[in-house]
Structures are given as structure tokens and as C-alpha cells.
Symmetry: C2
Subunit: 298 residues, 2 copies
């Protein structure tokens, strides 16, 4: 049976480590870390995500600066909000919750965020820093995967890794992070020929295709480390049911083959949230000349 | 026999196309494109490269703003030079010739260049734009390789590509460009296990390892497209000789196996220089609302 890469447990552990760091640094910093989440409109999933992030901030001792703006807010108003947060010395991190209502230019808004407060790691400057191997906030989901692998003691150097999916949120930065850990990385995508053969060659498989149950036993060689980034709600079987959550991997088929497997839910998901906190506390520590926060988690 | 991917001929062809574009746009723009090359100190190879670039500018109708500063120039003076060029409306492109004398912080100088004038495509913002698939100046050597492949009609979609080397100058941006052309790309490097097996799996092999004669017949499957980015001068055989140029690939062994091969010299090298001109003319055209320049070459 595959060892379970328990993101829920690790996220809770990292929250405790962060909370201790925040408490220890409060004296020197003179203020707690601050995270501003900008939410626009009424996307119901976003409401849940933002509430989760705020609760997590509370547990760690990060002050939340929540901004909830109506769906018809115009670009200029949002730009001003971002500029104010850029200048606000109590704010270490700024996150623009996606998706945005139609008519807003998300890219322009992202570009307006001070790259050193871009705790989502999505500003092109931070992606460029990642590519160059320089310091800067790292994209949360792939950074969470790296933390899971690292704390599980999985060696990456020289490993053949396949990242399935090339989104800017996950696949692309994931490939770069694995490569910086000296894995030999291939990126597969919708145009890849014979995806299953490529998967079977991999010793580490990160699946971030956004397609429920895309890969199963046919794609896994025995002993592969399997990281499932997908999260989807299956159609309800009966009235009143909410439907079960599943990933991009058919876990039931894979768990006897893989050496390690991230569960869905409870694998990569909780790591994404905690890495947002890590990025925020890191920005705070840097601006107050405190010791680096969790430096071993890149 | 492998078809020869003749970079010298294509570079000459692209220079003619650029020259025509510059001539046609002069009226609307009111001035020619301008390229500023900053050279510091007395590296002899740099002197040759800079002279080559200036001559190429002359052929195309780009005005050169050469700045040659003494080896003991301090960081502050160079920063001022860059800031002046950033503000100079006659300058479309700024290139900082490497290597710099010891004691100068090349990264800080690179960061000071206006990203929209960074015709070397090395500013982290431009690397981030490349990662995000956004417009911006592209790193010249990999862009030159893409142009060679494109003009030779080599289809990339779905092809298995291996990039050997992960430098920020070549390997990393090369992998991203091939991926954006829908190839399935793997990046190999010094920690890669069984490099030869990885090479033999590739349908397109780009070798940018910086090691003379690293790969030969043992690394090539029949029908592979082989791009050799290396250029090295071999030790002279006799007194008075200069020594022959060679690449990272042992061309003599490979040319009966490969479907296409870039010669050294005359392959990738001339493409690097011409892509610098392409980037400069593109910046000029954009700032004067002229039609896009060679848009099919990404």
C-alpha cells in the first residue's frame, strides 16, 4: 500500500511552527504579519476559500485585512485599493482572490501588486525570479507539494519527474521547483503523444490536469510517488447528497502500486493554504530582519 | 545525411527582411531603431562580439549607441548610464555585454534596465512574461533556435524534445519556448541519471551543456533533429594554428543519423545576433504603432 502523504497533518504542523515564529518575532517586529485578501463579487466558492484563509490566519497570529468589494467595482477602484495596500506598512501580503467578475482585467491588477507582497507568487517578476533561482514569494500549490515531498524525506535529485498539466498556477512553477531540486523534469499537456507511456516512465508523477479521474493503474509503474493536485466534486448519487470529492487520479486503482500518494481531500489542498501563510510570515520576517522562516522548504 | 540547419544563411535572410521593415517604417517613426550596447573593461571576446553586433546593426539600419567604459567603472556610474539610456527616446534596446569585470553586480544592473528595452530578454520580468506566455523581448539564443526550426518547417507539436543544460541564458528559456510550441519537453542537467538513454528517447535534441563534444552517435536515435548550441575553440594542433571551432555534439558521428543538424560554426551562433536585431526592431515598431515585426517567429 502506498504511504499516504498527509497534507492535512503537515499543514497543521506547519501552522504550529508558524505560530511559534510569529509569537517569537512580535517583540522585534512591533506588529503581527498582515495579509490582505481582496475579494470582488459573490462567487460562492471564493467566499468559502476566503473564510478558510482568514481562519487560518487567525490560528497563526496573522492579522487579516479583508476587503470585500461589490461585483460592479470598476478597475480603477480596485487599482487604488491595491496601491493603498502596497503602501500600507502593516500589510505584508496581498492576495487577489480569483475568479474576478467579468469586465475586470485580472492581469493588470496582478501587475499592480508590489512583487514583494505578492504572496500568491503569480506576478511575472516572481515567476521570473523562480526561473532564475532567485528569492521571492513562490506559487503556493507547487510550493506546498515541495514541502510535502521534503518533509516525507523523498529524495528528488536525479529522479525522473513528470508534471501533467502546464498551467501558470501549478504545472509550470511545479516543473521549475522540481528541476531546482535536481530532478529531471518533463512537462506533459494536451498535445503530448502517448501520455500513458510518459507517465509509466516517471518515478514521480504530479498530476495537475484538472480532469477528474484522468489517470489510474494504467499510468503508474510500481513504486512511483504520485501527487494528485486535482480536486473535483463528483455528481451526487442521490438527492440530498453533496457528491464525493475526487482528484485527477483514480486513487483506488493506484494505492497498491504507488510508493506514496496524496489523498483527495487532505493532500495538496491544505498545503496550498498553509503556504500562503508561510509566504506572508516570510515577507514579514524579511522586512523586520528576523531569521528566515522555514528556509528548508524553499 | 542530416539536412543542415544553416543559421548563417537564415540570419542573412532575416537581416534583409529587417532592413526592408526599417526602411518602410522610417517615415512613420521619424527615426531609426536604436540599440545601446554597454561594454565594460577589456574582455577580448567581448570586443569581437560587440563589433559584430554593431556591424549587423549597420546592415539593418539600426543606430548604435555604443558605450565603452573602463574596467574600473563603479556600479553607480553604470547604473546612471543605464538610467539615461532608459530615458533616451532614441534608444529601443539596451544590452549589457557580459562578462563584467569583477566587483560589479551584474544582476542589479540587469534589473535596472527598462524591461521593455531589455533586448537580451534576461530581465526577470521578461522571463516571467515568457513563462506566462505573454509578449515581451525573448532571450536571443533560444529564440534563434525557434526561428531556425520554424523556417525549416520542422513541426514541434507533440514532439518529444530534450534540452540538455538548464542555464538561464539558454536551457531554461529554450524549454519554455519549445513547450509553448506544444512539444513535450524534458530538461536534462548534470544530475540527470542515464543522460544517454534520455537523449535517445528524444525526437528533438537541443544541446546547450557548454561541454565540447559531449554527445555523439551513442546519444542519437535515427531521424532526430539535433541543435548544437555549444561553441568552443579546440586546442591548436600546430604552432600558429588557431584551433578549430566545435560544438557540444560530435558532428561527424551524428550527421549520418540525425534528420537535421545545426553546424558549428554557422548554426545557432549567427541566429543569436540576428535575434538581437529582431528584438530591437520589434521594440521600435511597437513604440511607433507599426505592424508587428516577424510575428510568426514568436
Amino acid at each position: 500500500m502506498a504511504l499516504r502523504l498527509d497534507g492535512k497533518a503537515l499543514a497543521a504542523q506547519l501552522e504550529r511552527e508558524l505560530e511559534a515564529r510569529v509569537r517569537a518575532g512580535l517583540g522585534q517586529a512591533g506588529r503581527p504579519p498582515g495579509l490582505a485578501v481582496i475579494r470582488v463579487g459573490h462567487d460562492p466558492a471564493s467566499a468559502v476559500y476566503v473564510a478558510n484563509k482568514e481562519r487560518a490566519c487567525g490560528r497563526v497570529g496573522i492579522r487579516s485585512f479583508a476587503t470585500h468589494q461589490p461585483a460592479d467595482t470598476d478597475q480603477q477602484t480596485l487599482l487604488k485599493t491595491i496601491q493603498q495596500l502596497n503602501r500600507n506598512p502593516a500589510v505584508d501580503g496581498i492576495l487577489l482572490q480569483l475568479p474576478l467578475p467579468r469586465g475586470l482585467d485580472g492581469r493588470a491588477l496582478l501587475l499592480a501588486i508590489d512583487p514583494d507582497k505578492d504572496v500568491d507568487g503569480l506576478h511575472p517578476l516572481n515567476l521570473g525570479r523562480l526561473l532564475r533561482g532567485e528569492q521571492g514569494p513562490r506559487s503556493c500549490t507547487p510550493a506546498g507539494v515541495m514541502a510535502l515531498l521534503q518533509r516525507a524525506g523523498i529524495a528528488l535529485e536525479g529522479k525522473r519527474a513528470l508534471v501533467v498539466g502546464r498551467s501558470i498556477l501549478v504545472g509550470q512553477p511545479m516543473a521549475l521547483m522540481l528541476q531546482q531540486a535536481n530532478a529531471t523534469v518533463t512537462v506533459a499537456h494536451s498535445c503530448t503523444v502517448d501520455l500513458l507511456a510518459r507517465c509509466r516512465e516517471a518515478e514521480l508523477l504530479v498530476v495537475a490536469a484538472g480532469r477528474p479521474g484522468l489517470l489510474g493503474a494504467e499510468a503508474i509503474s510500481p513504486g512511483t510517488v504520485v501527487v494528485d493536485v486535482g480536486i473535483h466534486r463528483q455528481p451526487a448519487q442521490r438527492e440530498g447528497d453533496r457528491g464525493r470529492l475526487c482528484g485527477d487520479v483514480r486513487a483506488g486503482e493506484v494505492e497498491t502500486l504507488a510508493s506514496h500518494l496524496t489523498p483527495v481531500p487532505g493532500g495538496v489542498g491544505p498545503m496550498t493554504v498553509v503556504m500562503l501563510l508561510v509566504n506572508t510570515v516570510r515577507c514579514w520576517a524579511r522586512s523586520h530582519a528576523l531569521d528566515p522562516v522555514l528556509p528548508e522548504l524553499h
